[in-house]
């Protein structure tokens, strides 16, 4: 027969475990970062194994794109060449470039090795070799930035201050571009049939920073898939 003390100890432990389980808090919502505040520091490794920190890019304008190869909107901004055109305009990857462009992948709904492999495959498919994909598997950096969607864009000036956050541009512009690829031909209701350029608030922000102007807009509603955080 089991001693009473053992029964009580076991029961107490079970009750305590249950209480702790019940009391476990839900994941905290991702808090929004304020434009004008210092951008959070980070140190992340890219898919090639190189470590990148915000501090090492001090003196440059840093553009961060929250990225998930599994998100169709992330694919759309590359398929439409929106990112590639922006990289060219910003002279990313060129000698003495003032702008650094980094993709950050906080996806955690697949094994980390697969997340890395998919990121490499995606950038190769879109012929973008000037954009490192930083892996944020535990989501700490994403949450520090308040990243909610993929894509979700941030522009940090050379002093490390956040100057823009939000969408690439008006979602309806990027949606229209997608529609243009499937249209019967010709315009409809004024939608561009795949040729007109969509407004790009990220590029505008970079150009305004470079020319010393106020950044406007500086905070827009991001669109896209939810970031697939670990918890």
């Amino acid at each position: 027969m089991t001693p009473l003390s053992t029964i009580l100890t076991t029961t107490s432990a079970a009750l305590l475990a249950g209480a702790l389980t019940i009391a476990a808090p839900a994941p905290a919502p991702v808090a929004k970062l304020s434009v004008g505040a210092p951008a959070p520091a980070f140190s992340l490794t890219d898919t090639a194994g190189k470590t990148h920190t915000l501090k090492e890019y001090e003196g440059k304008i840093v553009v961060l794109e929250w990225f998930n190869p599994g998100c169709p909107w992330c694919r759309a901004v590359y398929d439409n060449n929106a990112v590639q055109e922006m990289l060219t305009s910003m002279k990313v990857g060129q000698k003495d470039a003032e702008v650094v462009y980094l993709a950050v992948n906080s996806t955690a709904n697949a094994p980390k090795e697969r997340v890395i492999a998919e990121s490499i495959e995606a950038m190769k498919k879109n012929k973008v070799d000037t954009v490192p994909v930083l892996i944020d598997y535990d989501g700490a950096v994403g949450k520090s930035y308040g990243a909610k969607t993929t894509p979700h864009m941030y522009v940090i000036d050379s002093s490390g201050v956040l100057r823009y956050q939000g969408a690439f541009g008006p979602q309806e512009d990027y949606g229209k571009r997608q529609r243009g690829r499937r249209s019967r031909g010709g315009d409809s209701n004024g939608s561009p049939s795949g040729g007109a350029k969509a407004a790009n608030w990220v590029l505008t922000a970079v150009q305004q920073i470079q020319s010393g102007e106020k950044v406007a807009p500086n905070d827009t509603q991001p669109w896209g898939c939810g970031v697939k955080y670990a918890d």
Binding site: G70, R114, Q171, N189, D219, G224, G226
Partner: protein, 294 residues
């Protein structure tokens, strides 16, 4: 068995147009993981008019019926923390007018880090169209064809982009016809103007919109924010007793982010959590810096 004429008309009217539909993989743009391989579409669309035929200078509804695969959802006009809105674009014949898309009250979806708003199972988005006066449409009995294009993001634990294009044709006759009341269930879910709420008063002070009014179940009132450029809305606070509602909605407004438009606070006053429950739309202009009054 003889099929009803309206059924036949609906079938013929929803004949797809344009190039062949891409495979789900192509439509979804998935690169690798989470590829949708089931050939059944996650969202299918039909378009039906609320009239069997229409006359000159007549207003009626087009219903864009979206059927959504089990476990998946699409988004409201203001998705929330993530997602992208379901968009309907209607091209009408010359001389017709097309109203804005009317979205039924959405369902709330919560995920680990986010709250989003949208629809599951099915939804009918409504678009009001008005025919021209007879003098503008000779010969006045030409059937009217509406080219309807819709786009959406459909999500479960992963997301896929989708779209569809359908033509809905309505026969034209010489006199105004009656509504078939096809969409009554969905019309009841369209938010009513806040002015319809008895005694509703909306006031704007610095950083705060206050709403008072008389409403059944005032203690179950909630606010569903609708994102607008330049306006950030904080969680609303409300009290309700004896059917008297008092709700305060904190906000911050920044003209630099208004994208050239007005600063407006928009959202739904909703009762309870059931999307079938009543709701009213609040749409109030906010003062710009230097304005002396809203």
């Amino acid at each position: 068995m003889v099929l009803p004429i309206w059924f036949t008309a609906v079938v013929l009217a929803n004949a797809p147009t344009g190039p062949p539909v891409e495979t789900p993989e192509e439509m979804s743009g998935q690169w690798g993981i989470n590829r949708h391989t089931d050939p059944a579409p996650l969202v299918s669309m039909e378009v039906v008019a609320d009239v069997a035929s229409a006359g000159p200078d007549q207003t009626f509804l087009l219903g864009v019926h979206l059927s959504i695969a089990k476990g998946w959802h699409i988004y409201w006009e203001s998705p929330g923390d993530s997602g992208s809105p379901t968009i309907v674009d209607v091209q009408a014949p010359h001389g017709w007018t097309v109203g804005p898309t009317q979205y039924p009250r959405p369902t709330r979806f919560t995920a680990k880090q986010s709250v989003t708003w949208g629809y599951e199972s099915e939804v009918v988005l409504l678009v009001e169209v008005t025919s021209p006066p007879a003098a503008l449409d000779p010969p006045q009995f030409t059937p009217a064809s509406f080219d309807v294009f819709a786009t959406w993001l459909v999500c479960k634990d992963v997301c896929h982009m989708g779209d569809a294009q359908k033509v809905c044709t309505v026969e034209m006759v010489g006199t105004v016809t009656s509504s078939l009341q096809r969409f009554a269930r969905w019309q009841s879910r369209i938010p009513r103007p806040i002015a319809d709420l008895p005694g509703a008063v909306v006031t704007v002070t610095e950083g705060l919109v206050t709403l008072t009014g008389t409403i059944d179940d005032a203690d179950q009132a909630t606010f569903i924010p609708l994102a607008t450029p330049g306006v950030q809305i904080a969680p609303a606070d409300s009290t309700g007793a004896d059917d008297q509602l008092a709700m305060t909605i904190p906000f911050t407004a920044d003209e630099d982010n208004a994208l050239g438009g007005d600063l407006r606070l928009r959202g739904l006053l909703a009762i309870g959590n059931d999307p079938q429950g009543p709701s009213w739309e609040i749409n109030v202009e906010l003062p710009r810096s230097g304005d002396t009054q809203p």
